[in-house]
Symmetry: C2
Subunit: 654 residues, 2 copies
Amino acid sequence: MINGLSASLAEVLDGRWAHIRQAVRDELGAEFVTVPGEAGDEARERVSRLIRELPTEVGVAAAFPAGYGGSDDPGGSTVAAEMLAQVDLSLMVKAGVQWGLFGGAVVALGTARHHDAYLRDIISADLMGCFAMTETGHGSDVQRLRTTCTFQDGHFVLNTPHEAARKDYIGNAARDGRMAVVFAQLITGGKSYGVHAWLVPIRDADGNPMPGVTIGDAGPKAGLLGVDNGRLSFDHVTVPRDMLLDRYGQVAPDGTYTSTIENDTRRFFTMLGTLVRGRVTVGAAASAATRNALTIAVRYGESRRQFTAPGADREITLNDYLAHQRKLLPAVARAYAYVFAQEELAVTMSEVFALTEPDEHRQRELESRAAGLKAMQTWNATATIQMCREACGGAGYLAENRLPGLKADTDVFTTFEGDNTVLLQLVAKGLLTGYRDAFGSLDGWGRATFVAEQVREMVLERTAARSLIQRLVSAVPGRDEEIAVTDRGWHLAVFEDREKHLLEGVIRRLRGGAATKKDRPFDIFNDVQDHVLATATAHIDRITLEAFVAGIERATDPAARELLSKVCDLYALTTIEAGKGWFMEHGRLTPARSKAVTAVVNDLLRELRPHMRTLVDAFAIPDEWLNAAILREEPARQEAMAKEDDAVGATLAG
Amino acid sequence: MINGLSASLAEVLDGRWAHIRQAVRDELGAEFVTVPGEAGDEARERVSRLIRELPTEVGVAAAFPAGYGGSDDPGGSTVAAEMLAQVDLSLMVKAGVQWGLFGGAVVALGTARHHDAYLRDIISADLMGCFAMTETGHGSDVQRLRTTCTFQDGHFVLNTPHEAARKDYIGNAARDGRMAVVFAQLITGGKSYGVHAWLVPIRDADGNPMPGVTIGDAGPKAGLLGVDNGRLSFDHVTVPRDMLLDRYGQVAPDGTYTSTIENDTRRFFTMLGTLVRGRVTVGAAASAATRNALTIAVRYGESRRQFTAPGADREITLNDYLAHQRKLLPAVARAYAYVFAQEELAVTMSEVFALTEPDEHRQRELESRAAGLKAMQTWNATATIQMCREACGGAGYLAENRLPGLKADTDVFTTFEGDNTVLLQLVAKGLLTGYRDAFGSLDGWGRATFVAEQVREMVLERTAARSLIQRLVSAVPGRDEEIAVTDRGWHLAVFEDREKHLLEGVIRRLRGGAATKKDRPFDIFNDVQDHVLATATAHIDRITLEAFVAGIERATDPAARELLSKVCDLYALTTIEAGKGWFMEHGRLTPARSKAVTAVVNDLLRELRPHMRTLVDAFAIPDEWLNAAILREEPARQEAMAKEDDAVGATLAG
């Protein structure tokens, strides 16, 4: 199905983990693909069964230590999850809960005795588990969650003090989970040491809740019907001492607390930092599902005719309309951009995880990028899949054409694994060095008389292909209007300049606020929140563009390289166009040049029109994974219909 | 529940059809409200039962002639449907199919013998029917649909010539419909007279398909599970001569065709024009559902705490965050704007329908505004409900909190009753006078060497409160930078100027294209499609603002008036802000003034923050209609939880 140029592009897009991508394509046939319009109970049953049947070759458990059957490849595991998202998002989320969150927490927060006792059963899915962090009253404020786990008489007592501390939206809880990693405030000797995690049995062998454990069902959801989200409460549940996942904090039999990290806040963030893989995975999955939607919409638009075009010199399909190209092609370009940015993120994660000496700077950079790319990719998924569904007209509303499922299933991504707005604040915070110890959690920004003192000179971190990008940027002659709007160096310079200017603005405003709003600490931060979010967005836009530019270098086929370069132009210029208001406000674009950007975008649309199908074919999604009735009928039926239709039309006209 | 100021606002918003709004609120209790998470079969059964139980007082059949039990109030019927949309969108759509599309077509296209025979049973829902227009292959191109109805041997023969001519997405078809208004090409004496409509039995008394009629089920959909959408095909079905809905075209026993409208295209558009109520209703319903979502999100944000805010001088809830206000308040302002614009549209429709002499100019203006407001309100619904769902975090993803249903049910509105992109083109076309006879259907634009000749001087049609608006605009001293960005006259002038400039640009480009692209007729239109869509959007923005400004005048309570004026400021300025790129490109805003707009928007958010709850309470949606678990628990439970939480927090901190 994939032609030469598509194949060349696919090779570039598949990248470092091509072997995992291909394995998943080879191994997972129609029996694993989501069933549109399925009822909730059926979906849960099917997904629960399929997760146990996933062949190990597909790499979903790749992140586990080699000694336990994994392959020490955390980056590969996010790629595997990304591929699974194209097959069935419920299956991907269920896998993410089991092997990413639950298994990942046991690996990262536990020690050898936990690994020896549980990892093999976790990998085989014989032991299904939950990740019980989020509470009803504290969705985003994990550091202040209310569940307590108190050491007394040689064991812990886990307790949900009140309704707002109930664990909520917990995957695997309502049906399949036998254990849970439960996050709670560790209290020993009458003193609280902050959030820690325990491995807690929640169901017995017969599937009944353990004594003191109350399990609820989260009930019908917008999507992800195959995932059994539930609610957990604990009424003074006894937890043996050795079930504390004690890599970062230990409690001796006499109740003495020890940790290599003195500061509670720093320890909390270190523990949370080990769980960054969840965010990396969600962003990847969102973009993967977006590629499904784009493939469906572009292929439909390639054959679908809307109006008979009298006197036209060719057959006009939806993709020939400028308005349709304006919707689909920039979204395709952005999808390409995120493939490169996501791979770079996975590579960074692999490198940071492989460090023998912790590097706080790189760790923070990783967390910041994971948070930002998760937010940007999931919002993009919501917007783009919606656009694709509309681009397919009424057909896009039918479950059999897959788009309703893609939309409903990915919708939750914008608020789970961190609310996107909160995550973007985290990104901005990451750009201000030295923040963590001084401020702790996000709200700590408001506590600050200090912001001014803490903020140090900011240096833009370059991403991949540093030297190439530096060379391109350096070649740009200032803000000269003479330079072509398609100049790659100009794109890079513009993205970089915007980020830097916005960040400096935030720093200046925080300094000003710290000086004048001492008595209104909340307002210091709140009054600049819009600038903070804009800064974070600009940052992620820049690292995404840089990753795209670096990615083009991987192409060996000249035709693929040329096409990728045009797609990159389109990504860069539509991003500039979307922000043209800001660029003109800040003297970065003249009105004339702004109009020129739009004109060049329209030219690019015309140039890329003939390659639309090629560009989505390069996503290399098997037809049976797309699972859309409107594509199964294509192109043969569409063409036959069009021909019959022309004949009838001619009769009517005659 | 509604305080004094909310009540004053509600009175203004309820407007001319307040009696219908209140009747629906009084009559429809919890038993009519949508059931979140319901399965498809249950939903169909429930909605099918409830539509028969709707009391006549709620006005859903108000548009019917008084002589048959209606009240000759087409505007009132759209308001009734709008209210029903807040109760259950499936019920609203089912009602819209039955009384709006099916019944409406019988009224508008039929004559006395059809009215006498069927209207009473249609109103009572004893005769359930379908509106069979859309075909698989011709979703948007109704004029070229392929179903034929050929007169021979004293009767018609209705036939679906091939698969692409199958009637698709037809409401009431899969389960309940006994008859259908079927649109087909009328052929008699070997000649085609264009699209007409027939009343055709599709099921017998036992519910079995009539001979020659094939009925399919459209299958699971993204939403509107209570509506039985289906597919209809006809295999040489005999239709008696008198079942032609023959108001605009008649066929005598000998097969002679007569019509008071000679031109086929003009006749087609006249027939279609009578069906404008469907679009008016869909826009209204979309905005009504949006108000449900905004009410849920604002009330949730009023009590929900995200992070503990240390040192804050007050309790911080989600609505206190600038970013949250930035999401919710402009959307609330837009919701207000559309209430006024929609009412003005319904009034215009009532007036046009009441004319004894057809007024082509007013008819075209009505169709144009109905199309544009349908497009803008439905896109706004999709975006705003999505935003509300995210603003509620994980809770927004649970069916019990209603937002998933609102989202999924309204999603189809962007592409049904006319695809939004196609509708905006219709709006732009309506702005160019004298288009219809020369061009016919949309694609005809491309046929045009003549566009240049046809386009006449464009005059902006003023909407309500013409003199007031003229006075405000006249008071603005040119493009003086000195005028306050909150000046109402400046807002009006800016909106008007943008529309005029865009429209002139389209005309200029079409003229240029007609001169240089004679051999590429499709491209003449296609190359300016982005300008066409921008023009249409600017037009609808202007009439919306003018309606808002006029609406403020209705307020008698000075406090309500002042608040409405601020909300109008926010609507106008966020609309200008969203288009600031264009305004700067075209010298309408300086960079400094553009920044000032943003600063004033942020000031407005702070000023409106204390009124957020008041503003949504004024939508006057009964709590049982909101039907969201997170609101039922509010405020008592939220407050109790927060207090318990503070106590536990204090213990942990201690």
